[in-house]
Point group: D2
Chain length 397, copies 4
């Protein structure tokens, strides 16, 4: 393993750059997960995480990466042969669809163009047509990490309601939670899936299910086999701050600090900071003359921007150049977007200087690879950021 | 959260005390899990972990705590309605049995006394009687963490072989791996389940499945629904050092250091160190006049000792006394052993001085609670350890 | 560099074992030593350190190890050719005497036996005889680190006062500060010298001068050349929390946490904890049948115990045995005590279990080297500690 | 203490941003400074540091910040009343002059304009006129941290030689060591003064004296009082890797890693990286339309750039704006330059992206304060860096 001069800029759209106080908390000695000190920690994070989902209902914390929470949302609410309505926004919605099928559930996936969010009208149409209520759930991705498109979840909720359909609403917020406004209770989501390694600024290894009363009721009759990811034992143990099996203690220590930091900055200000960085990034990209993968302005993601390179230029070669030259990692194009787009993460812990550094690194890479572009992208980003209010103090470490 | 003077002694039978170089590795910044630096890390740990299981076959590393790997062993090899032969050695074998049933598998659990290991003769008997080969697997716990009893896995293998039975052999080594000699290949185990937070000296959050060819073949026809824990995608991605979804990067960084340390000390010397600590602990316990939960000398565990207190004395009150007075955590009695036994962990990263400190803390607690015992337990432990060879240097950090 | 299984026990009489929260604070990024965040840090530690010296007067913090503060006490108060009365309590008082002479000051050193503290009567006698007030200062060591003897500073103060002598009183508290009760103001000390790496639980690198009004006045006429260690610029800058040159920022970050921990536990309880550990250690040593280097009970040190081995046994060979076998460092005999005594540090961050672990390590070493002793030393120590109150919570990290 | 979103950019001209592997090494537990593990550490750093000074002669490592090493260079070589020839390049040369006088040495300081380096002709002139060899030393600053001017030390050496003068040559390299090419032996320097917190990438707390044979000989007859900073005991102890008093153990642990990193990257490449960053910074500054404090191109510093703001604009207000808005610290103007200049540090651990981020932060600040400038400074810097070779791997951590 080698060390490159200067800090690595981890600008994939998650895992994001973990702040040092969180890394320090993770590096504290493991404590007894059945002792009184742990109970205090457990209650603190189980309570605190609800504010991030904007829910008054329980949130389960799994000692798994996000994929575990995806599966948990399905196996706790559904039964073999159930039918789920999904929407293809990109790579991750597709993967979630594959998982659904692998688990023995029928997934009806509305085709998408990978440049737009969920079309609530199409959802509504499908549900209205489903007089028999065959669909047990609608499962969508809030922020599609492969394309940088954020879907309107409130609209999906309205579509379900207006269709008078009883389907559960399952939402993946892995790359939006803690970065983009999200409201589990207000939007009537039944299960929200989240992960630790993006807006929450932790390393990967924790994942979440926020659970509505309706979802909890569904879990009582769900027939899919489950144990490790089962909600029942988890919720029972959580009452006292404990877990039914060994939790990921050290990451929970980090989560406590992450929640303190987010609360101290204030979620609204965190979201505003992400919005500004995203806006500055898009202005640079547009100035350079490239297309943004997300087609509709209203759906631009505030946590990442996927950039389309002109035909004949390899996005992966550009990423390699930037990694070697600037010690910065960018996200690759996934599936049909492979080598065609690269993704810039602007989520978690960052400030104006780091955003501009990142854009400088990209522009340098463009120059070095000889990819035609209009110089000055960083300037327009700077202009966009120069009017900003200063960053806000987080909680003391 | 408060800080007590002096180091906390985490002497539960896992999670164990993580060495500082491993904590430091975990606290290094997260790296891009799709980049070249990660590939190097991935190949290193995927290769290195095999030596700990003593296998030349693949070992899958899950971003979950140990319970995930328990479930993985079952869902990858079995189908709904399959029958599994299990043996009740204590709390954890019982839990694994419950999980098996929860997953829709029939578990035939041979009753045990919670003071003895797996009786290979009873296994053989059951298998010989099973002419129809209804049992698809035999699933046992190598080292029962609730009782401090280590079962003879080679004997179980022989029992299966002598019965000429095709059942798979699944073994839980969560509290023995890296502490007590274990041989996946030589003993013909089909799936070995392990965790990070015991002999591997890491915090909880990683778990393992070591997989025989026979188990891999079984996975091709297994019908239990699975996705997150499925072997197929995992093994395919692992070939190049990658994972099919976001792995627990920072814990993998720690695993790399843990493997270096174990390899440098040498597994035989690691095992000998555990054997000595266990022997010294038992001598102290016996000198105090208490029973050891494990009935048979040949089955004494080298990673923990469960101690039975005389009637009328609360093990939990003793543990609380020791926690408050000596800043040391001991394991509680589980299930029927609640408040009757306490468990002393001597596994992972420790040396002679820490073992004696731990026994001193226990003896002080006995005095303070007025629990009748013969003084001098630490002396006999010291005597037992005084003839030892010095500790051996681990890998450079 | 190699890693030995289990934690190293650093039981030299300083540097002591630094608690992890302090190490974590030291590892935080360096901040701008001229910025507002530093000012806050500076004011916090410059204020907090006064409570440890029990003074309302300024305490200077040097970015040097303790020897710098020894020199500072002299060069700020004295002039070439001045005469200082000193007392030979052991190796460190002797070294301070040598330094005094090297700086061009006349040192009149009252001979001692290296087993007793300062004899205030002899000081009084010398001062009464000094009608011309040739002595400009009396300089003594509060806790002699080479012998484990604590001198009565209040008695020295009274001796000076009763002699009606104007000499300044300079006191070295390097191995007592934060471990043994000390009162700069109440005892009328003029300059107290301290260091970071003992009772303050920090690594070495910071040192202190607590300064009385009288000492400050003396500094105005002192003629010894000085700049780096001069009080004037330091005190002027300190008013706003700054330093006249680059301070040791990261150690100051650690000092802040150390002060919080000491204040939270409460100095009286910190001292009581040291007293108990010292008492238990002495009982073990006496049970083994060895002499304690300190002759008088009233002068036993609470931060370390120097143990005399019987003739014909090498203390250094014992220390090496213990280092190799038990991964524990003990202090060596210094000067005439070389190879004759070994020193056990019990200062800074420790608890009952660690104290007993240390004594166990020593007793194991005695057995292994075949040094005749009565077994059971750890038992009597345990007995001595078993009646203790539990450890007290430090400040939240 | 509060935490601001994103990493703080510490862009004062030292202390510089310490890389995480060095912080981790500093946070390792303190070891026994008289034990075998320390001897290995001591020999390693005492040997390794010579390569940084490019000397085969001894380098003393003090547990003090840089000011201690300034004083050490003087008190070890000179006697009261000696005369030293100095050159006023800025704030730090002036401070060193003041120290010289405070120590009772006569300092003859050649006046400078704070925008140019040492004029070797003026030195030569003075020395040729000094037939009596009254000057015992010439003392100059290699890289003046207050102005960003690097002096030609080889030229000073030639000046002394051509004058046939026996004066010692003392050089301060605190802000150039490890950042800008420097050759103690080849340039015939007698004492080189260095510090840990700039090019060596450590926190403050260590300082250095590289010592020629001639300087060592001078120390034998030097009459200034000294003890703590005396070379004799230090050099004697260093032979075996030890120190005559408690060293700053944890910073030495960090120094070992810092040396490994510098050696792995290769000093020539480290210097080239600094040269490029400095060049890019100057191009941005000049594009904005500001004057660089350093007048002569040949004397531009590669470790920092001091920028003159147009009349009527406050540099301190700009720095505050940038601190609040961009979480970045810049250096202030010192002495007569107060509020007139600000200083950008580009030294130690950095890469292209961080350099561009820093310049972006400055340009944003200029916009926000309404200070007239030509936009596009970051663009020209990017252009300047785009042709660079990639960063080079440091030693494995």
């Amino acid at each position: 393993m080698s060390y490159l001069s200067g800090r690595h800029f981890l600008q994939i759209p998650g895992p994001s750059n973990t702040p040092l106080p969180i890394l320090a908390a993770i590096a504290k000695p493991t404590i007894d997960h059945r002792g009184p000190e742990f109970a205090e920690l457990g209650l603190s994070v189980l309570g605190g995480i609800r504010t991030i989902f904007k829910t008054a209902k329980p949130v389960v914390i799994y000692p798994t990466s996000g994929t575990g929470a995806w599966e948990a949302a399905l196996v706790n609410t559904l039964s073999p042969g159930d039918k789920v309505l999904m929407f293809e926004t990109g790579w991750f919605s597709t993967l979630w669809g594959k998982m659904t099928k692998a688990l023995g559930i029928e997934a009806d996936i509305i085709k998408g163009d990978w440049r737009s969010g969920v079309d609530a009208n199409l959802i509504a149409e499908k549900l209205r047509a489903d007089k028999a209520h065959a669909y047990k759930a609608v499962a969508v991705v809030h922020n599609e990490t492969s394309t940088g498109v954020t879907s309107n979840i409130a609209a999906v909720r309205r579509a379900i309601d207006e269709a008078g359909h009883p389907a559960l609403l399952l939402v993946d917020t892995i790359s939006s939670l803690g970065s983009i406004d999200y409201r589990h209770d207000e939007w009537g989501v039944d299960v929200t899936v989240g992960g630790s390694q993006k807006g929450l600024m932790l390393p990967p290894g924790l994942s979440f299910n926020a659970i509505s009363d309706k979802a909890l009721a569904a879990s009582k009759t769900s027939k899919l086999p489950k144990c490790f990811l089962g909600w029942d034992d988890m919720l029972a143990s959580n009452v006292n701050g404990f877990f039914p099996y060994t939790p990921s203690t050290n990451l929970l220590q980090g989560l406590k600090v992450a929640l303190e930091m987010l609360h101290e900055e204030g979620l609204d200000q965190v979201f505003a900071r992400h919005d500004r960085a995203a806006m500055a990034t898009r202005r640079a990209v547009q100035h350079w003359g490239f297309d943004i993968q997300c087609r509709n302005e209203a759906e631009y993601s505030s946590s990442l921007t996927a950039v389309r390179l002109p035909e004949g230029h390899s996005a992966d070669a550009l990423r390699r150049e930037i990694l070697n030259r600037a010690n910065m990692s960018l996200g690759n194009g996934l599936g049909p977007l492979a080598d065609r787009v690269f993704r810039i993460g602007h989520l978690g812990d960052f400030n104006n200087v780091s955003v501009l550094g990142v854009l400088s690194g990209v522009e340098m890479g463009l120059k070095a690879r000889g990819i035609p572009h209009r110089a000055g992208g960083v300037d327009v980003a700077m202009e966009a950021l120069a009017g900003n209010s200063p960053p806000v103090a987080h909680a003391a470490e």
